[in-house]
């Protein structure tokens, strides 16, 4: 039995990811939990997240998830999704600046013009972000966009390069030199759509909502033993 823990720290909808894992997994038991022992006993761990980073980090710290995630990353495969990926970084620009877990070196930045919409960027009708033709782009970045694979990580197995995945986010990861991106996406800027570091694989998109490509990535994760 492949034991999978989906870390629950009270932020948002974890049922989608649990259902997708049950759908692709053979002989898999999925536990949505915040219990340290359950998470540490699992074979594979998912670190999801939605919503505002300040609230996420507050709950992560309050429940001691910060230490659990750090320990999991040393011992077994960890897949971080969306705000879960952002939480791994050193800090985020969101909510006026929030310190994150610092397991991967880099920052989380706003897509648009931060100066124009400081504090509540969605108010601005013009995000300040534009494509190569100069057309103004909406923020959040919501919908299906291409991910260019930049390595041969086992989690990409059976997934065509430039497959579209489903994104919904207003902030993106900018990695420091020395860290490894596994996938890049362009939306006004080129940003890290996937990264890897030892046992960690992290994605900005939602594999559980990305149909065939996303389900294949989850299948690959369940088959991955880490490093």
């Amino acid at each position: 039995m492949n034991k999978v823990a989906v870390i629950d720290y009270g932020m948002g909808n974890l049922h989608s990811v649990a259902k997708a894992l049950e759908y692709v997994g053979r002989n898999v038991s999925v536990n949505v939990t915040s219990d340290a022992a359950t998470i540490l006993q699992a074979d594979h761990v998912i670190f999801p997240g939605v919503g505002a980073i300040r609230d996420c980090m507050a709950e992560i710290r309050r429940l001691g998830i910060d230490e659990i995630v750090a320990e999991v990353a040393c011992r077994k495969p960890l897949l971080a999704i969306c705000v879960g990926m952002q939480a791994l970084m050193e800090s985020s620009e969101e909510n006026g600046g929030v310190e994150c877990l610092g397991l991967v070196k880099g920052q989380v930045r706003f897509f648009g013009n931060v100066d124009a919409g400081a504090g509540s960027p969605v108010n601005a009708s013009n995000s300040g972000l534009s494509d190569e033709q100069g057309n103004s782009l909406k923020v959040p970045h919501m919908g299906w966009n291409c991910v260019k694979q930049t390595d041969q990580h086992p989690l990409w197995q059976g997934i065509e390069d430039n497959t579209r995945f489903y994104f919904v986010h207003s902030y993106y990861v900018a990695l420091c030199a020395g860290e490894s991106a596994s996938g890049l996406t362009r939306y006004g800027v080129e940003f890290t759509a996937a990264l890897n570091k030892g046992n960690i694989f992290a994605v900005q998109f939602h594999p559980e909502k990305s149909q065939h490509g996303g389900l294949q990535l989850l299948r690959n994760f369940l088959a991955w033993d880490g490093v």
Binding site: K19, A52, K138, H141, M142, S210
Partner: protein
């Protein structure tokens, strides 16, 4: 290689059954929202919107089970709308497996509900649905008002102002329906769509009036829609989703093919 525009089929459901009918030749149960959702997802739909029109509150339990069943088999984003009035309603739908909820009338009667919902659950899952109707006279600059009760009750609220306000309260997306066009098959109200889309930073889903594939193209290219919602043209098999996507792509629109 840019962000794709989205096609979103919409299922109107009453007590767990799709109404208005869906005419796929090889579908066993034309009223089963799970089977139909799966079918649309397989055909390449970018998202599914499930609109609950069940009148009585007691029978909403059925809707929750339906959403659970869809979410267990369909792995593209699922929006649930209709009768979302409290934070508990939202939690129930998200727990059932919805990715977003769409708030309509409740937002008009209590705008702060949108703010509370976005703060609690995040803007990414809060869609504000607005039903707008043209109130300007011919020759005047376009002006649209928000209507409730299926377009019967005027609210006096300007549609563009309302969209701006809802976004400032945390709406992550706007589902914009033209009550003048809904059900007419004469195309989206492009001026309305463009006026709203150009006024806010979040994505706009155009809805109401699609009669053919060129209407979808116009919604994106002229109406500046980020996504197009349609029901009958897909339900009745007039056009398939792959056909619609191919047509739009041929007109230069980025699609997920």
């Amino acid at each position: 290689m840019a962000l794709a525009k989205r096609i979103i089929p919409c299922l109107d459901c009453d007590k767990g059954r799709v109404v208005k009918g869906v005419k796929f030749l090889d579908i066993r149960d034309a009223g089963d929202p799970v089977e139909i959702s799966k079918r649309y997802s397989d055909a390449g739909a970018d998202e599914i919107t499930f609109l609950d029109i069940t009148a009585s509150h007691e029978e909403r339990e059925t809707t929750v089970h339906t959403v659970e069943a869809i979410a267990g088999q369909v792995f593209i984003p699922l929006t649930v709308g209709g009768g979302i009035r409290t934070l508990d309603d939202i939690r129930t739908m998200l727990n059932a497996g919805a990715d977003k909820v769409s708030i309509n009338t409740a937002a008009v009667f209590n705008p702060d509900f949108v703010r509370d919902a976005a703060e609690r659950f995040g803007s990414q899952c809060i869609v504000v649905a607005m039903d707008a109707k043209k109130v300007s006279l011919p020759g005047e600059a376009g002006r649209w008002e928000i209507f409730t009760h299926g377009g019967r009750k005027a609210t006096g609220i300007d549609a563009v102002e309302w969209a701006r306000r809802m976004v400032s309260y945390g709406a992550g997306e706007i589902l914009l329906t033209s009550m003048d066009r809904d059900g007419t098959k004469s195309g989206f109200d492009l001026a309305l769509n463009r006026a709203v889309s150009d006024s806010v930073s979040v994505p706009i889903i155009a809805s109401g009036g699609v009669g053919n594939l060129q209407d979808l193209v116009d919604g994106v290219l002229t109406g500046h829609a980020d996504a197009v919602l349609a029901a009958s043209i897909f339900h009745f098999g007039e056009y398939s989703i792959p056909e619609a996507k191919r047509f739009m792509a041929d007109k230069g629109i980025t699609m997920r093919l």
